[in-house]
């Protein structure tokens, strides 16, 4: 599994996503894109749906991308990827491409859950091999924070605004991981921008999947969620630790939790950080808050049950193959020993009320 230094080394040797884009201050997307691209060995080509990422990185005539990159439209990134994949096999068969290449799709939640779902489903059913990464910031942020089917219950957006007669979005979000997993593709996962190691591991498993792989990654959006840019990592981390956003993977139909948040943190802690839920803290909204907690508890139980059901399979030798993923080449030397991520998590004296990572 890649650690942060391997990724750093990889990204210096193979720069894939540069600076100079016009994504917002504190945007969560670039960290996801860099982690994904630096967890994949060998050449990569990117297929991008219309989204914040697309418009803010390719303003003609400048491009941030240092890999082959194509955008056609909003709803069809999985279909474009299907065509690229078919062409890739043809070129390989003719000997016109010497090296194996990984195709990565980046699309937002709108381009995945809503308008792009049909194309995604078709490509998954055909078993086309690519890694589809949905960066999920839970609304149409590119066009100014309109609700999508990824927007959670109670969130205020410009098309599900809170007001005297409304408490934000009245419907819970769609569970895209379950929908994708129903296609019985080799690898499905849910990750979060804050948990980069977990994300990187999942990308590497996706890389080895012989068929389509799908990873839904929670990304912070400071203007859309209404928090300070500096809190982007904290907010996503709390989404995971409050069990709102379970980090799971579905391998050959078996579900498991890849991260056990403990101890239990009530979801209001996460909600309270974000302007989109501010209205829920007014008097009379207690029921909505309870409902959000109930939705999360219910979902968590469901995931937990599945996790327990597959525990024996994951302990088996067959499942173990998935963990035998080769690491990236080691070409780094630690300067001050190994005070890594895990170290800081255990060492509470450094937290000081900051992000405890």
């Amino acid at each position: 599994m890649a650690n942060i230094k391997e990724m750093a080394s990889h990204s210096q040797q193979n720069p894939r996503f540069g600076s100079g884009h016009s994504l917002c201050r504190g945007c969560g997307i670039p960290s996801i894109v860099r982690t994904v691209l630096s967890s994949i060995p060998g050449p990569v080509a990117v297929i991008n749906a219309t989204s914040c990422l697309e418009v803010a990185t390719t303003r003609y005539p400048f491009t941030v991308w240092k890999v082959p990159w194509i955008h056609v439209a909003f709803e069809n990134s999985a279909a474009v990827a299907s065509g690229v994949e078919a062409a890739y096999h043809a070129l390989r068969a003719r000997g016109e491409l010497s090296e194996a290449m990984t195709l990565v799709v980046f699309a937002g939640d709108g381009g995945t859950y809503d308008i792009g779902l049909q194309a995604l489903s078709g490509a998954l059913e055909r078993g086309q091999r690519f890694i589809y990464v949905c960066y999920d910031n839970e609304a149409y942020m590119n066009t100014g924070i309109q609700r999508s089917s990824a927007t959670p219950f109670g969130a205020s957006t410009t098309t599900s605004p809170a007001g005297r007669a409304a408490m934000g979005k009245p419907e819970p979000r769609k569970n895209i991981v379950e929908i994708v997993a129903s296609h019985r593709i080799p690898y499905v996962a849910q990750a979060a921008m804050s948990h980069w190691q977990d994300l990187s591991n999942k990308v590497q498993r996706a890389y080895h999947a012989e068929g389509p792989a799908f990873i839904n990654v929670l990304s912070a959006c400071p203007p859309g969620w209404g928090h300070e840019p500096r809190d982007a990592v904290l907010v996503v981390r709390l989404a995971v630790d409050s069990r709102y956003w379970p980090l799971v993977e579905v391998i050959e139909g078996r579900w498991r939790l890849t991260y056990q948040p403990a101890p239990r943190i009530p979801v209001v802690k996460w909600l309270a950080l974000q302007g989109r839920f501010r209205h829920l803290f007014q008097a009379g909204q207690e029921e909505s808050l309870e409902k959000i907690q109930a939705i999360i508890d219910d979902e968590w139980q469901r995931v937990k049950k599945r996790d327990e059901e597959s525990a024996s399979w994951f302990a088996s030798e067959e499942a173990g193959l998935w963990d035998r993923v080769p690491s990236l080449p080691e070409s780094w030397e630690p300067r001050l020993g190994e005070p890594m991520w895990e170290h800081f998590r255990k060492d509470s004296k450094h937290s000081n009320g900051r992000v405890s990572l």
Partner: protein
């Protein structure tokens, strides 16, 4: 026709300022038009907004290229945009000195220039942004709309904001107006008069804009086709700085920096790239050893943000 161009960054309220002015001018018996110019950028990116005012209904729907007044909400924009474009010797440039940068030069401006400490005025009034202050200043310099008309317009344009925020903006627009009235006395000595005529300005028709042909078919771009746009100007007065002796090279700041503004070599942290840092402060938030600090833009640091002394706060 009076033409005003606002330069701001996404989130600084340039669009709101242009609309506020339009609403107040209608109250003053003029026909207004207000419109923003959007790009693919997000909050923090340079953008423009325009207001047109006339004695007759405005039929013109074109960008303002020869403005009478230019209002700059963020002085750092002077480096990123040609804020004086189309401004002639009778024109007026109003700049929020805000987090003033001594290296910014305005020596080649043809018209009169007024520097306004609008951030400070807004802060005193409790307002989050300097946009309403700048509208107040502008109205005072133009002689209309009145301060009452501006206050009413604040309530209309900011109807969705909480009452406290509206109150702060009412105060800041008033404070801006007061500042403008006093500045008018100083400015009057130097300013050439411009009497605004009804209808199309001849200067608007005279500016030549030419298109450029592009070579590569299909709008395809190669990585080195065009210089990388710098995004350092997006910072809002604070920059990250580092105590290298506290840094343990965990590279978390590198991992989470959205802008690729953390300089590393191998697995060593070296510092910050101010050309690209947008000032989101994530590096400070995730640093486990408090090696990273947000400091004022004017604080002297090493080329890559190295701090020599530990700040006391």
């Amino acid at each position: 026709m009076l033409e005003i161009r606002f330069h701001g960054r996404g989130g600084q309220g340039a669009k709101t300022a242009s609309q506020l002015l339009a609403v107040a001018f209608l109250d003053a018996g003029r026909y207004p038009q207000a419109f923003p110019e959007y790009g693919p950028e997000r909050s923090g990116a340079p953008m423009m907004a325009y207001t047109r005012i006339d004695e007759q209904p405005i039929r013109l729907h074109a960008a303002i290229i020869a403005p009478d007044v230019v209002v700059v909400l963020d002085p750092a924009l002077i480096r990123e945009q040609n804020v004086t474009e189309g401004l002639d010797s009778q024109g007026l440039l109003i700049v929020n000195t805000g987090r003033s940068d001594p290296t910014i030069s305005l020596s080649d401006v043809e018209g009169s220039v007024l520097m306004v400490p609008a951030d400070e005025i807004a802060q005193k009034a409790g307002a989050k942004h300097a946009n309403t202050v700048m509208v107040g200043v502008l109205a005072a310099l133009l002689g209309e709309p009145s301060v009452d008309q501006l206050v009413t317009a604040v309530d209309e344009v900011m109807a969705l904001l909480p009452e406290s925020a509206r109150d702060h903006n009412r105060k800041s627009v008033q404070a801006g107006y007061t500042y403008g009235v006093s500045a008018l006395r100083v400015l009057d000595d130097t300013r050439e008069e411009r009497r605004v005529q009804s209808g199309l300005q001849s200067s608007s028709a005279a500016v030549a804009v030419e298109g450029t042909p592009f070579a590569r078919p299909g709008a395809m771009i190669r990585p080195d086709d065009y210089p990388v746009p710098l995004t350092g100007g997006w910072r809002m007065g604070k920059k990250p700085a580092v105590h290298l002796d506290r840094c343990v090279n965990c590279l978390l700041c590198w991992q989470f920096c959205p802008d690729g503004a953390v300089i590393i070599q191998g697995n060593m942290f070296l510092g910050f790239d101010y050309d690209f840092c947008k000032g989101c402060e994530i590096c400070d938030a995730v640093c486990p050893t408090q090696a990273v600090h947000m400091v004022s833009e004017t604080t002297k640091v090493g080329a890559w943000g190295e701090l020599k002394e530990v700040p006391t706060s």
